[in-house]
């Protein structure tokens, strides 16, 4: 008979970050230490604030990607989707500004959200209903979104209307009690995402679908619906990132968001989410995004890397960060 009195204590999972998931944070800590040794300015409040604020875009998009990847998918279209959404949003705001003034900004945000959810839905349905490998499906839509923004801009630039610029500026440059707004936004997104992934039915199903599609099906989960929804969440995250992004650069161009998809996937994987699905780590993803941005920052702040070799050093650091992350697991 089972000796229940002697039954082992319960596992705590959920919000708290278990020791086994500490990998990305250790890698981050190592990086910060190295950064400080190379250039003490690295730890200046100003620099840290800049870097973390910048990492917000990738972090927010990567949080969405955590869902997609945990559910066994992959989305290569996020970078060009971000560019496309930015373009749509700016076009809409510029069109609305003359009639509604700065109210164009919240309206534009709403338009961005709706558009990006539609984009996510498109990706999701191609993958689930079309039954096409996510890699290929989103490579296709990546081309589509990129072409659309090129078309919208006629190969040039769409800048945000001057009348809106100042009103919109604080969304990137403002702060609340000294904390830059993009950081707050990404924290909020991460909190909500962690809640959804760890504390809701949907989150459970998402991970189950990624871990074993058959088990999910036999457990009465609609695999297609769960997967599609993950792409929609990804879309929404892209919209949020775009909303924060617009005031920073003030324009959409055909090169906006180029290769973000690689950064996003790297952030997710460094964060401890398994690329084959079945495991999602929201806070790890955030750490991963910050790590990537710190690496880039370090390249600028340190002086001994030839600018031709920056990419090589970054590649090496990413591999080392993954090794630290791996080894900390066991």
């Amino acid at each position: 008979m089972a000796d229940l009195a002697a039954a082992p204590p319960r596992a705590q999972h959920g919000w708290s970050i278990g020791w086994g998931d500490a990998g990305p944070f250790l890698a981050l800590a190592a990086l910060v230490l190295i950064g400080f040794l190379i250039n003490p300015d690295f730890l200046s409040a100003n620099n840290i604030a800049n870097v973390v604020t910048r990492s917000a875009f990738i972090a927010i998009i990567a949080i969405g990607a955590t869902f997609v990847i945990a559910s066994g998918g992959l989305d290569l279209s996020v970078g060009s989707m971000a560019a496309f959404i930015t373009g749509v949003m700016i076009l809409f705001m510029n069109w609305a500004a003359p009639s509604v003034g700065t109210a164009a900004i919240p309206l534009g945000m709403a338009v961005a959200l709706v558009t990006s959810i539609a984009c996510g839905l498109l990706n999701g349905t191609i993958v689930t209903i079309g039954r096409i490998e996510p890699f290929i499906a989103t490579l296709g839509t990546m081309g589509i979104f990129r072409a659309l923004i090129t078309y919208m801009t006629n190969g040039g630039t769409i800048a945000i209307d001057r009348s809106l610029r100042d009103a919109y500026r604080p969304v990137y440059f403002g702060d609340v009690l000294g904390v830059p707004i993009p950081i707050l936004v990404s924290l909020a997104v991460a909190l909500v995402a962690a809640y959804v992934l760890y504390r809701t039915r949907y989150g459970r199903r998402c991970v189950a679908v990624g871990a074993n599609e058959d088990v999910a099906r036999y457990s009465g989960i609609s695999v297609a619906r769960v997967r599609t929804l993950a792409f929609v969440i990804q879309g929404a995250c892209v919209a949020i990132a775009a909303v924060c992004y617009v005031p920073r650069l003030g324009a959409a161009t055909p090169t906006t968001g180029l290769l973000w998809e690689l950064q996003v996937i790297t952030a997710v994987v460094i964060g401890g989410t398994a690329l084959r699905g079945g495991r999602g780590r929201v806070w790890g993803t955030v750490a991963g995004a910050v790590i990537l941005e710190f690496i880039a920052n370090l390249m600028v702040l340190s002086d001994f890397v030839s600018e031709y070799l920056v990419a090589a050093v970054q590649g090496v650091i990413i591999i080392i960060a993954m090794l630290i992350q791996r080894m900390s697991k066991r």
Binding site: G14, R204, A208, D214, G220
Partner: protein, 525 residues
């Protein structure tokens, strides 16, 4: 009866080929096996028995080089042996038939059998030689699949046979069978046991794990009993009855396996609407025109040989594979399921026979596995109720007697039998009024079997109804009120009351009274 230890081996017999001394194994600090010593002589069948989670599979993995012992030593032909990888053990002539199916689904049967030791001439694979050797090996153990079939397309039972064929290929000195018969039906078991006896005759040393104690009685020369990771002892099998084995395993006297049958009269009188009626079921390639009725409060058995189409019938019913039905009525109301979720909502639960591939998330912890199909139960407005979920797990652990060493364990780390119990608990969480159990006691030890039987009885006593698909005839006979026998995708006979005998079931399952082939599928292939 006295414990006869290895040292007491009769003189004149050859020395042990494989000997284990004081083996112990820990998984991340949790000790699952301690101080186990046993030896294996050429030409003997040495059975290892014990409750679910007693450590049998772990011991087998240590002996065959899949795991490294935390303590203790292995001796091969008297000399200390250390297996750094499974390949070392393989080279030494030790083969293991895993309890869990370990085959690559995307590859063919012949490819799977020859993974890692492909036959090649001048660097070029000799497909024909491999196919022929595979076919011969498969034929020898009575497996009717073609070497060219994809493993994905063959039934679980056949996969097990393929796995056995794979292990037996080549010259072996020690063959370890970890519950080889758990997924086999009566008719497949016999040829396999013949093979094992033949291996023994050739001087191969055989380690045999099974929860089917009658098989152990039939085959074994010596029996080692494990309980909670420790040795109870090694016994001479002569005169060791299944009942005595069971008592040694559980550490107390063991009563009866099957619960008292319910009063057949009561069932007959109950003229209320049937719980489930299926008319004209077609599952392309598997099932042709099957109709059946499950009465309220009844345990209906479904017997048949491998490939009879029992599993497919119900997977079709739940919308898990393409199928068509003339009519399906649940408690008299016409229904049609397009997903297990919808079926669950209407009170129909299905427990799959493939716990590893379709039942549990092996890399996930226990609680998420338990509640996966019934998340609504742990989802008040404010998100998942993790405490409530943990309570559910506690309750499941208690009522299904799931043995675990750590609550942090992943489902894949449970022993096979305990995985099965977890799966049962998972399906029951939806409190189905009609429960379809595919192979309810596959890999479950005798003590827990009787618990599960009692559990099924108590279900029907509560007014629920149950369909039991099983390859163990005795189980069906002991448990069910009525048995339908399927053959080649059709119902070939119905047995009830005293007609429910092994020979009748076997006859129905094999006789070709209706000798038709199912369209679109080659049964013999």
């Amino acid at each position: 009866m006295t414990a006869a230890h290895a040292a007491l081996a009769p003189a004149g017999l050859p020395g042990p080929v494989l000997r284990a001394e004081r083996l112990a194994k820990e998984f991340s600090g949790v000790r699952v096996l301690s101080d186990v010593s046993l030896d294996l002589r050429p030409g003997e069948i040495h059975a290892v028995i014990g409750e679910n989670g007693a450590g049998k599979s772990t011991l087998m993995r240590l002996l065959s080089g899949y795991l490294k012992p935390s303590e203790g030593t292995l001796f091969m032909d008297g000399a200390p042996a250390e297996f750094h990888a499974q390949a070392d053990a393989q080279a030494a002539g030790i083969a293991l038939v895993h309890q869990e199916i370990l085959l690559a689904e995307a590859l063919t049967v012949s490819e799977n059998i020859f993974i890692g030791r492909e036959i090649a001439r001048f660097g070029r694979l000799d497909e024909r030689a491999m196919r022929e050797a595979a076919a011969a090996q498969l034929a020898e153990i009575g497996c009717k699949v073609s070497p060219n079939d994809l493993v994905r397309d063959i039934s679980l039972a056949n996969r097990q046979l393929v796995q056995i064929a794979k292990a037996l290929l080549g010259t072996q000195r020690v063959v370890i069978f970890d519950e080889p018969t758990a997924v086999l039906t009566h008719d497949e078991v016999d040829p396999l046991l013949d093979i094992i006896v033949e291996l023994k005759r050739r001087g191969v040393a055989i380690l045999y794990i099974s929860h089917r104690l009658d098989e152990v009685e039939r085959l074994a020369d010596r029996v080692t009993v494990l309980r909670d990771g420790r040795m109870v002892g090694t016994y001479d099998a002569h005169g060791l009855t299944p009942r005595r084995m069971a008592s040694l395993m559980v550490g107390r006297e063991f009563a009866s396996l099957y619960p008292a049958r319910q009063d057949p009269a009561r069932l007959g009188q109950d003229e209320s609407t049937p719980a489930l009626e299926i008319e004209g079921a077609h599952v392309p390639g598997f099932v042709t025109d099957v109709s059946l009725t499950l009465r309220k409060g009844e345990i209906l058995g479904l017997a048949g040989m491998i490939g009879a189409g029992r599993t497919e019938l119900f997977e079709g019913l739940l919308g898990l594979r393409p199928s068509s039905f003339r009519a399906v009525r649940l408690h008299g109301k016409p229904v049609g399921f397009h997903s297990p979720a919808q079926a669950a909502k209407l009170g129909v639960g299905y427990l799959t026979e493939d716990r590893k591939g379709k039942g549990l998330l092996l890399e996930e912890k226990l609680a998420p596995n338990l509640t996966l199909a019934a998340l609504d139960r742990v989802h008040p407005i404010a998100g998942l109720d993790l405490a409530g979920e943990a309570d559910l797990l506690d309750r499941a652990v208690a009522s299904y007697d799931i043995r675990l060493r750590s609550r942090d364990a992943k489902a894949g780390q449970l022993s096979g039998g305990n995985q099965q119990k977890l799966l049962l608990a998972k399906v029951m969480l939806n409190e189905p009024s009609v429960l379809i159990i595919d192979e309810p006691t596959r890999g479950i030890d005798i003590a827990n079997k009787s618990q599960i039987y009692a559990f099924i009885q108590s279900l029907v006593r509560e007014g629920r109804s149950c369909i039991v698909i099983s390859s163990e005839m005795q189980e069906l006979i002991g448990l069910c009120d009525r048995i339908l026998v399927m053959r080649a995708g059709r119902i070939n006979g119905e047995l009830a009351g005293d007609a429910m005998t092994e020979s009748n079931v076997a006859l129905c399952a094999t006789s070709s009274a209706t000798n038709e082939k199912i369209p679109g599928r080659n049964i013999d292939g």
